[in-house]
Amino acid sequence: MSDKIKSTEITDKQVYLNRRLFMRAAVLAGTATATTLLYRRLNPQPLKLAEGEKLDDVVKVTREEASKTGYLVDEPQTPLASITNYNNFYEFDTSKSGVAHAAKGFVTRPWAVSVEGLVNKPRVFDLDELLQIRQEERVYRLRCVEGWSMVIPWIGFPLHKLLEKVEPTSQAKYVAFQTLLDPNRMPNQKFGILSWPYVEGLRLDEAMHPLTIMATGMYGETLPPQDGAPIRLVVPWKYGFKSIKSVVKISLVADEPPTTWNIEGPDEYGFYSNVNPNVAHPRWSQADERRIGEYNRRKTLMFNGYGEQVAKLYEGMDLARNF
């Protein structure tokens, strides 16, 4: 081989190598970008909350009342960013960090709640009418059946105030609740993840208990979509899934009504579903919990710490059987 040929050969290879280097850099950068985007898509970032409407004239609880009534838990409140980005609301998304994104823009006006069944005065209440009922602040623990918990400053009114307006008859023994059914607004209702609409139920005495509220807001503002806007049930001594969201119907009935998670897994989720550290979920222990924002695990309290107020509702009942 002569020098001449060799030199051209080298130049050619240099060009070739440069081009290959460039291609390789492009492949590397391209796949890395694609992987990053895929990761971000699968793991949505926390969503900044849009400002809700301020709720005025909210009655605050005094500390003296609180110890007896259980209306105000004296524990650090969970930050709003956590409450609004860590949600179980399967109608929108089954990933807790995805609900805020999927529920964004959920329209809650107009909204009406029908209260019917075994009552003397069945009625459809417009949301504005329900907001006229004296709104109170209630700072409750919320214990999810999955083993995590929060402390949430709800705003709402006791359910018994609403039920008294429709006058339940003497045959009414239970209260059945129903979430909105609208697959166009709640996209996951197009899939058979659960039997839609979501339904829940309480015994009448549980529903009438002063701790049981219909929440319309939290942290001084109206509820964001991911937390059950515009109106939801909150029963602080039961696992979170009992506190049904975006309620459109409340019926008074004679027999124990079907409840969604009980239909889904009868041996895992009972009708009562009172928070109980002594009765394990078939797949995990309920003895302790992770309070969102804390490193150490907390001991789970019987009736979520509301035993003084509600234990008497279950006197003589075998709570391991009626889980």
Binding site: A32, T36, N43, A81, Y86, K96, E146, W148, S285, R290
Partner: protein
């Protein structure tokens, strides 16, 4: 192609490995970055556990996908990527187990033991992990030589059980939306079924792969 003197050139194989290596570490980098920025949501521990678990399953699936792909598309060089994928599965498996023992159980091994006994899905996950341990240990060339190819290959069939247990572990822990776990189970199932198919109906006996059938 002849090797060029005085030129640092990377073989295609090594470049492919670099691409896989980089992409395999990106999720970990993003996870750590989000932890650093305190941007991992309300329950960082659950997030880290779920993410590392998912990555373990992804890499396990990719590992057992190599052989079916290699045979179906006749790309023998794919086998050279298998070790790296398998080791990434193990790597994320270690992180997954560590996040659980560290953050969920706070290094309380009695509580880990109780949890394993009480929660079948954790037991299944543990089994999946410990099936991967001997595979990681015997992944070096030296170990292949020491064991001998045949015995090594036999031992490494444990990966089938690790992948199946991993998919089962995922399916068992989900409350009701089983779409993703079922997808994993389906893919793992197909990849394992391919092996049975090859074993009991070898390609030689099928008309589709042979231009001129023997009989």
């Amino acid at each position: 192609m002849s090797a060029l003197p005085n030129t640092r050139r990377m073989t295609s194989l090594n470049f492919t490995k670099l691409v896989i290596f980089t992409n395999a570490l990106i999720p970990l980098a993003l996870l750590l970055w989000d932890v650093w920025r305190k941007n991992v949501g309300a329950n960082p521990l659950e997030f880290a556990t779920r993410t590392t678990g998912m990555l373990t399953l992804v890499f396990l699936t990719l590992t057992i996908a190599i052989t079916p792909f290699r045979k179906t598309f006749n790309i023998n060089s794919l086998v050279k990527l298998r070790r790296m994928l398998g080791l990434f599965a193990f790597f994320y498996g270690v992180l997954h187990l560590l996040t659980y023992i560290w953050f969920d159980r706070l290094f309380n091994f009695i509580s880990v033991g109780k949890d394993v006994a009480q929660r079948p899905f954790i037991l299944v996950g543990m089994i999946a992990f410990f099936l991967m341990v001997p595979l990681a240990i015997t992944s070096t060339n030296k170990m292949i030589k020491r064991l001998g190819g045949k015995r090594w290959a036999l031992l490494h069939r444990l990966v089938y059980f690790a992948a199946a247990a991993g998919a089962l572990h995922f399916w068992m822990l989900v409350k009701s939306d089983v779409r993703l776990p079922l997808t994993f189970a389906f893919v793992v199932g197909v990849l394992l079924a391919h092996r049975l198919l090859v074993k009991y109906f070898p390609p030689g006996s099928s008309q589709s792969t042979e231009l001129f059938p023997k009989d």
